[in-house]
Symmetry: C2
Subunit: 255 residues, 2 copies
């Protein structure tokens, strides 16, 4: 019974999130349904991370077990065929060891958050960026973000329904840079950690946006973190700018 | 009666093209309708270039005359308000002289064509790029493109319904470069000329793609041009990768 690792790209807009749900379309459910077109099911795939409703992925990773020896390339081609016309694509596949686990073997997750700061409504990038109308101070946001890097109790920055055992996590890095975009220069937030709490990235970016507009001072982020109180968080920003951009493993199955 | 220059960005997908049509949605018609919400019409705006159905713009330019002195900023804000929820945005506006003309005063038009060469279906970029499944040889395409730069009879590369008086045009430049994209590296074709013939960019890119796959040799582009025969053209590529990316004027009204 071979096990395959799948690298998956998706537009989150039409989905209620990654995780399979009974009454709503999910990315996991779509891929499991595509697998069931290849082999009698039910199939259960395991993703490296759960993304919320509307959140995108450039390189989610999941694993699946099949009864036939499809070969990685044929499997990805067949899944892409059956996923059409959904905005979900298998961009790579690789056979892995039977004990390889997309979630538990992962050593790092990376997220990209795209923000477009301009007055005129976005056209091509609507639904793909978070648009704010006022310019943002990048240096102030970087100063605010610096308080969050490292090993902290992130209670302030996690959803009240977060299921993680502990709110203590190590946030390895946050970078904030401008990047060219089809609808004008964007601000890209990139975050790296072994794992993230529920709504952690959107809570952080929403808080940093308050710093960028000048409504918060950079040191207010430090105080919010120290409060270890969900009520001290800035507004959670919307999902459409968020992309799971990569997952790392000790031995990259796709290399 | 003030005249305003408008810089316009749009997603071409929902439109039958730039030009107003009786029974189909057009970008020009959408902006004229928005103007009619501000002042009794009918309003007629003049664009720098006509884009076909499905073709996008990052910086189309048009001019309009109004009876009231709106001021450029207020006019753009009011138009954007009334354009919602269409994927059309006025990204800049400027008052110009009464004899300034978006089409006849233009000294250069620029187009970007985005091509994504990969097997897996595009997700976020579907409808925004032309996807081809095989890798393309950039150097071969550049060698083919070199035959087209300069002053030529472009009969081979214009639509049979092109209304231009002459097929003779000067193509100032074609560059072909890779560029990072959300769904992986893209190939960006950038073309510059005082003016273009109908379907000229799509005829050129479609022909160069044949060179990129190896079905044509670079010199075949030279022979096709010399034939001055529409039948000698390669396949015209689809519109969704094409963007009117800029229009130049002796005195840039937006600077």
């Amino acid at each position: 019974m071979p096990r395959y690792a799948l690298k998956i790209e998706y537009d989150g807009a039409p989905f209620a999130g990654w995780q399979r749900q009974t009454d709503h379309p999910s990315v996991q459910g779509a891929i499991e349904s595509a697998l069931a077109r290849l082999e009698p099911g039910p199939h259960r795939i395991q993703g490296a991370g759960r993304t919320d409703a509307g959140v995108h992925a450039l390189a989610q990773v999941a694993h699946c077990d099949t009864s036939r020896d499809w070969g990685a390339y044929r499997l990805s081609e067949a899944l892409n065929y059956h996923l059409k016309p959904l905005p979900v694509a298998i961009t790579a596949a690789a056979e892995v060891a039977e004990d390889w686990h997309a979630r538990f073997s992962a050593t790092e997750r990376r997220y990209l958050f795209r923000l477009l700061a301009r007055r005129a409504p976005a056209t091509h990038e609507a639904g793909r960026v978070w648009q704010v109308k006022s310019p943002l101070d990048l240096d102030a946001m970087r100063a605010g973000a610096a308080h969050l890097i490292g090993h902290h109790d992130f209670t302030t920055f996690r959803s009240t329904i977060c299921q993680a055992n502990s709110p203590v996590k190590t946030l390895d890095d946050i970078t904030i840079e401008t990047a060219p975009g089809l609808n004008g220069p964007e601000i890209h937030f990139r975050l790296r950690a072994r794992s993230f709490l529920h709504n952690q990235v959107r809570s952080i970016v929403g808080t940093l946006e308050r710093v960028g507009t000048g409504h918060w001072q950079p040191e207010d982020v430090k105080h919010a973190l120290a409060a270890r109180d969900r009520a001290a968080c800035g507004p959670v920003c919307p999902p459409q700018g968020l992309y799971l951009s990569g997952v790392s493993y000790h031995d990259d199955p796709f290399s």
